[in-house]
C-alpha cells in the first residue's frame, strides 16, 4: 500500500501526536460544559477575545510590512555581518518573552532610550498599540525565517527574466518575487499570527494588563487561573477553537490554490 509508514516512523509519529493532542483532550474533559454557554457570552470573555483577534491580526500586518522586506534583505542582499544580523533577528525566538517585554520597556518605555523623546506626545506601554508591538516583537522571527527560507529556495532566474522584460527592481519584487514566495509568506504569516495570538510574557510585561485595553485572552486565562480554574479552561478552549478554525480554513484555501 502506498503511504504505509514503516513501524520505525509510525510509532514515534503516533506518540508525538498523542503528546501534542492529549493535553488538549485534558482541557476538553475538564471543561464545565453545562455552564459553558453562559461563560462564553460574558462581556469580559468577548472583550478579551475581540482584543486578541484585533491585536494578533494587526501585529501580523506589521510583521508582514517589516518582515518580508527584512527577509528579502537577508536572502538576497550581500553585506558585511549578514550572518550576525540573521542571528540577531532570530533572538526573540529564544529570548524568554518576559525579557523581551522588559527590553521593549527599556527602549520604548517612558524612560526608555527612544521612549523618553516621545513621552510628551504619546506612550506605548499600557496601550493597545503596546500589545501589538509586544506581539510583533515575539512573532516576527517566525515570519522572517519562513519567508527567507522560501526566498532562498526560489529560482532567482525568474527575477532575471523579469528584468529582461523591462521590469524595474520594485516591479520584479512585487509582480514576480512576491507571488513566487507567496506560500512561504502565507505560512509565515499564519505562524506569526498564531504566535501573536498566544503571546503572554512580553505583552503583560510591556503593555500591562487592563481589561478592554491590553488584556488579551492569554492574560485573561492566566488571571482566571488564580481564582477560577474552570473559567481559565473555558477561555483556553475559546482561544483554541478560534485558532484551529482559522488555521484549518487558511490551510484549505492554500492547498487549493
Amino acid at each position: 500500500m502506498r503511504g504505509a509508514a514503516p513501524w520505525g516512523l509510525a510509532v514515534p509519529a503516533v506518540a508525538g501526536m498523542a503528546f501534542l493532542v492529549l493535553p488538549l483532550v485534558g482541557l476538553a474533559v475538564r471543561a464545565p460544559w453545562t455552564t459553558l454557554p453562559a461563560r462564553l457570552t460574558e462581556p469580559r470573555v468577548l472583550e478579551a477575545l475581540r482584543l486578541s483577534l484585533i491585536t494578533a491580526t494587526t501585529a501580523t500586518v506589521v510583521c508582514l510590512a517589516l518582515g518580508v522586506p527584512l527577509a528579502w534583505l537577508l536572502a538576497r542582499a550581500r553585506f558585511r555581518g549578514r550572518g550576525l544580523v540573521r542571528a540577531l533577528v532570530t533572538v526573540p525566538l529564544v529570548l524568554p518573552p518576559v525579557v523581551g517585554g522588559v527590553a521593549l520597556l527599556l527602549v520604548f518605555g517612558r524612560n526608555g532610550l527612544i521612549g523618553r523623546w516621545f513621552s510628551g506626545a504619546f506612550t506605548l506601554p499600557f496601550t493597545t498599540a503596546g500589545v501589538v508591538m509586544a506581539e510583533a516583537f515575539v512573532a516576527m522571527p517566525f515570519l522572517v525565517i519562513s519567508v527567507e527560507g522560501t526566498l532562498r529556495a526560489a529560482d532567482p532566474r525568474y527575477e532575471e527574466a523579469a528584468a529582461t522584460l523591462g521590469a524595474s527592481r520594485w516591479t520584479v519584487f512585487r509582480r514576480v518575487t512576491l507571488p513566487l514566495v507567496a506560500p512561504g509568506v502565507v505560512a509565515g504569516a499564519v505562524l506569526c499570527w498564531a504566535r501573536a495570538l498566544g503571546e503572554f510574557g512580553a505583552t503583560i510585561t510591556f503593555a500591562g494588563n487592563l481589561p478592554g485595553t491590553t488584556q488579551t485572552m492569554p492574560l485573561a486565562v492566566y488571571l482566571a487561573l488564580e481564582t477560577d480554574p474552570e473559567a481559565a479552561i473555558v477561555l483556553s478552549l475559546v482561544l483554541l477553537a478560534v485558532c484551529v478554525a482559522v488555521l484549518a480554513v487558511l490551510r484549505d484555501r492554500w492547498i487549493k490554490a
Binding site: 529560482d155 532575471e160 528584468a163 523591462g166
Partner: protein, 342 residues
C-alpha cells in the same frame, strides 16, 4: 546595429569575444559546454557585468544600463515562464512594465498568442502547457516588448526530437520576420545551421571560427567544429597536391602550399581486410579502436598514423567481420578530400 566586445573575467575563465549583428541578422554562438556562450549572452542582456568592452545597440552604448533598460528580449533555455501567471499575462508582462495599460497589453498579448497558434491556451498556466507550447509562449513574451535585440539561450534544447523539428521551423519563421538583431546560443549544429545567418564558434572563451553556416561546415578549423559537422579534420603542410600530416602523406584534389586543413567525411573512407588490389594513393594500415551504431550505419574509429572515423554499412561489418583491435587497411579517395589554407 549590434556591435559588442564582451570581456568577462572570472577566477579561472576569461571570455573575450567580439560580436556584430546587422538588423534582421541571426547570429548563432556555437560551442561546447563551458565555452562561455551563455555568459556572453547574459552579458549582452545585462545579467552579467562586463569586465571590459562595450555593447553598442543602434548607435547607443548600453553596457552601463541595467537589464531592464536595454531594449532586449530574451528566451531562456528552460523558458522561465512565470508560474503564477497565465500564458496571456506572461506575454503581457513586458508591455505592462513598459507602461502599456493593462487592457491594451492584454489585447497585444492575445494577438501574439494567436499568431503562434495558442489562442486556445490564453489562460493556461505554464505547467499546463507542453514543452513546445511553453517555448512558443517564451518567444512571444520576448518579442512582445518589441526588442531591438533578441537573445535566445538554447531555445530548443529542452524539447524532444519530434517537437524540436516542428518548433525549429516555427522559430525560423519568426526570426525571419523579426527586424532587429538576434543572437542565438546553441550547442546543436543543426539548430545553428537552420536558424542562423552567421555562426560564431566559441571555445574556451574565444572565437575560433566565424562565417556562414555553409562556410563553417565546409571548412571546419577546429576538431570541435569538424566533429559537429561530421568531418575528419587534420592540419598539415601542403606541397602541391601532397599534404603531410604527422608523417603520413595524403593526396588531395586542391593544389596548395604551406599550412593547410584537410577534411573528408567518414563516408569517404573505405576499409579492407587485406591490402587492396590496384594502388589507391591514400592507403594505410590501422587498428580498429571502436565500432558504434550511427543512424543506419556503423561508425568505425580507427587508430593509426592519424585517427580517422569511417562510416560503413551493417553488411560490410558482417562481411569483413570487423571487430575492435583488428588490423585493417584504410583508403581515402583524393577526390573526396578537401584541403584549404589554415
Amino acid at each position: 546595429m549590434l556591435s559588442a566586445r564582451l570581456v568577462v573575467e572570472r577566477e579561472r575563465f576569461r571570455l573575450d569575444i567580439v560580436i556584430d549583428a546587422a538588423a534582421g541578422e541571426v547570429v548563432a554562438l556555437l560551442g561546447p559546454n563551458g565555452a562561455g556562450k551563455t555568459t556572453a549572452l547574459r552579458a549582452l542582456a545585462g545579467l552579467v557585468r562586463l569586465s571590459h568592452g562595450e555593447i553598442v545597440l543602434d548607435g547607443e552604448p548600453i553596457h552601463e544600463r541595467p537589464a531592464e533598460r536595454r531594449s532586449i528580449g530574451m528566451v531562456f533555455q528552460d523558458y522561465l515562464l512565470f508560474p503564477h501567471l497565465s500564458a496571456l499575462d506572461n506575454v503581457a508582462f513586458g508591455p505592462r512594465c513598459q507602461g502599456t495599460p493593462k487592457a491594451r497589453a492584454r489585447v497585444g498579448a492575445r494577438e501574439w498568442l494567436e499568431r503562434i497558434g495558442l489562442k486556445d491556451h490564453l489562460h493556461a498556466r505554464p505547467h499546463e502547457l507542453s514543452g513546445g507550447q511553453a517555448q512558443r509562449v517564451a518567444l512571444a513574451r520576448a518579442l512582445a516588448v518589441r526588442p531591438r535585440l533578441l537573445l535566445l539561450d538554447e531555445p530548443l534544447a529542452a524539447l524532444d526530437a519530434h517537437t524540436r523539428l516542428e518548433i525549429r521551423a516555427g522559430l525560423r519563421r519568426h526570426l525571419e520576420e523579426f527586424d532587429g538583431a538576434a543572437v542565438l546560443v546553441t550547442h546543436d549544429p543543426l539548430d545553428a545551421m537552420v536558424l542562423a545567418d552567421r555562426l560564431v564558434v566559441v571555445e574556451n572563451g574565444s572565437i575560433v571560427q566565424e562565417g556562414t553556416p555553409a562556410e563553417v561546415a565546409r571548412h571546419p578549423r577546429t576538431d570541435y567544429v569538424a566533429r559537429l559537422v561530421g568531418l575528419n579534420l587534420y592540419r598539415g603542410t601542403a606541397a602541391g597536391h601532397q599534404v603531410t600530416i604527422d608523417g603520413l602523406t595524403l593526396s588531395v584534389a586542391e593544389e596548395l602550399e604551406g599550412p593547410v586543413f584537410v577534411a573528408f567525411p567518414p563516408s569517404a573512407v573505405a576499409l579492407f581486410r587485406g591490402r587492396p588490389d590496384g594502388t589507391p594513393r591514400n592507403l594505410w594500415a590501422a587498428r580498429i579502436a571502436g565500432i558504434e551504431r550511427h543512424g543506419d550505419q556503423f561508425r568505425v574509429g580507427l587508430d593509426g598514423p592519424i585517427s580517422v572515423s569511417a562510416d560503413v554499412t551493417a553488411a560490410a561489418v558482417a562481411e569483413l567481420d570487423l571487430l575492435p583491435g583488428q588490423e585493417v587497411w584504410v583508403a581515402v579517395k583524393a577526390t573526396e578530400t578537401h584541403a584549404y589554407p589554415a
